[in-house]
């Protein structure tokens, strides 16, 4: 079990993690979701004792990482697949890791077999593709047969086969009763992998709930209406307790059903040209929830051109000051 309480990390003037508290339970895959720059990697570094928190603390089964004896036997982590020496073979890399935590040497061959790198074990890690490097990183995380597994963006650079493999792999470890904590900036990926979610943006906790709850909350249904005399309908909907918004000559009514809107339209004499039930995509919904908490915005993408087409101006990724 991983427990963070009031975890805060400040780098100079940047607040990377801001008073973050969450719990990761064993026996399930917990997704750690947030846009790029939200503080996911920093949080994982804090969990592993690589960085010192400015305030708060994070514990693994009640202990700080730096108090653990032979930590690889309890926690297996893959934060960056490139943390290998390019001229050292995969086997040598795993050998020194194993030796440092008094793990039997034959375990090295076992984990190489498990991730499917046996054939290239004596190749230099620098020659590995990103997918192979990820597998090597996973092999390193598995060396000590740990109760807690932590992966930072593990599907990055993997081919579809590799993605399915790691997804099943994490679910199987969780089913064995282990704690699995995996970060991603892709909600669609997490919705397939994780049972539970910890969602952060700009270092702050946005939500902690089951994946199903989050998806339902996030992808709230709405009704799109086009027609004449929509002002009256809009007022009627407002009286009925709905919030409405006008977009591109259409009225969007979140949380309503087509039945209700249709009845109200008839009662107020609105002529309808369209009445559609809409369900937002997961990604849109996620962006909706985290939009105030995105660290880097691409400026200039949403400028509408005079001829009705969208112009893409120079994209300036600019840090948004709080």
């Amino acid at each position: 079990m991983i427990e963070a309480r009031g975890l805060t990390k400040r780098y100079g003037s940047t607040l990377a993690v801001d008073d973050l508290s969450f719990t990761v339970e064993p026996g399930q895959v917990t997704g750690f979701l947030g846009p790029n720059g939200a503080g996911k990697s920093t949080t994982m570094r804090l969990i592993l004792g690589l960085d010192r928190p400015t305030a708060g603390e994070v514990t693994l089964d009640g202990k700080h990482y730096r108090q653990l004896h032979d930590p690889l036997r309890m926690v297996g982590a893959l934060l960056d697949a490139k943390w290998t020496h390019p001229n050292r073979s995969a086997r040598s890399h795993l050998r020194w890791l194993a030796r440092s935590n008094k793990i039997a040497r034959k375990r090295v061959d076992e984990v190489l077999e498990l991730v499917g790198l046996t054939a290239v074990a004596d190749k230099r890690a620098g020659q590995f593709s990103l997918g192979m490097a990820q597998r090597l990183g996973i092999a390193g995380a598995l060396l000590g047969d740990p109760r807690v597994l932590m992966f930072d963006e593990p599907v990055n650079g993997l081919d579809p086969e590799g993605i399915v493999w790691i997804r099943r792999f994490m679910q199987a470890r969780a089913a064995e009763g282990r704690t699995v904590f995996v970060s991603s900036h892709l909600l669609s990926e997490m919705s397939l992998t994780a049972d539970h979610l910890v969602v952060i943006g700009r270092g702050r906790l946005i939500a902690q709930c089951t994946t199903q709850e989050f998806v339902e909350r996030a992808s709230q249904a709405s009704v799109r209406v086009r027609g004449r005399n929509l002002d009256a309908l809009s007022r009627a909907l407002a009286d009925a307790g709905y919030q409405t918004q006008f977009t591109e000559e259409a009225l969007t009514v979140p949380g309503a059903t087509t039945d209700e809107v249709g009845e109200l339209a008839a009662a107020h004499g609105a002529v309808l040209h369209e009445l559609t039930a809409q369900r937002g995509s997961l990604e849109e919904a996620f962006m909706q929830l985290t939009k105030e908490d995105v660290e880097y915005h691409a400026r200039g993408l949403d400028v509408a051109g005079t001829d009705g087409t969208r112009q893409v101006d120079t994209v300036v990724a600019q840090e948004v000051t709080k």
Binding site: G49, P71, K82, H85, S89, N101
Partner: protein, 251 residues
Amino acid sequence: MTLLAVERIKLFSTRSPWWCLALTAVLMLGLSALIAGLASTAELSLATSLAGRGFALMVLLVMAAIAITNEYRFGTIRATFTAVPNRTAVLLAKTVVVALVVGIAGEVLALGAYGIPQLIEPNADLVANTSDEWRFVLGIGPVYALSAVIAIAVGVLVRQTAAAISILLVWVLLVENLVVLIPRVGDDIRSWMPWVASDHFLTAGTGVPGGEGGGFPGELPYGPWGGLAYFAGIAVALLVIALVVAERRDA
């Protein structure tokens, strides 16, 4: 012991230490043999036998610095600190392993460089007779080992290969020799330069002009063993600073 084994695996599972050790051997033995073969018998001395020691020191400083800066460059230092959260223990183990390898290599090569010219020119006066002369030959290993400690401490502090190597080489080759240009106090400052002290330990009483670049004028305020103690003190002090910084700093 476990950590020493880990650092031994790490050091020798990459290529650069092997290349550096091979290059050191070529410089130490090759230069010694070359001078013995080309110079006249009268020109040969213990100093010409060990003429490669300055070059070899440069290569070994680079090797020791790279052993730690590459860990920062490739991120393996984070893998290391994740596997062993006790950073002081890890870095001490690395220092011991690298210093031992460098020290033993230096000692073996110094003996080789001492012996080879005697085979080439049996008539020349190349045998160490006095304890001062033996200190010159056998002191090279310990001086190299302590130099490696300084190189690792600098590597931990600056964390970048180019920066660490620049600092070390500029210091040894330029700073230590150029401080004499400072008026009035230059000579006094130079007396307390670490590698001046280590060279005094090696060459005092052997008639060899001391110091990297040669020709150290005047008397030093310490004897040969005092020089070694001072040099060792500098190495330990730098290492302690590096360990404290590494323990506190975000990895």
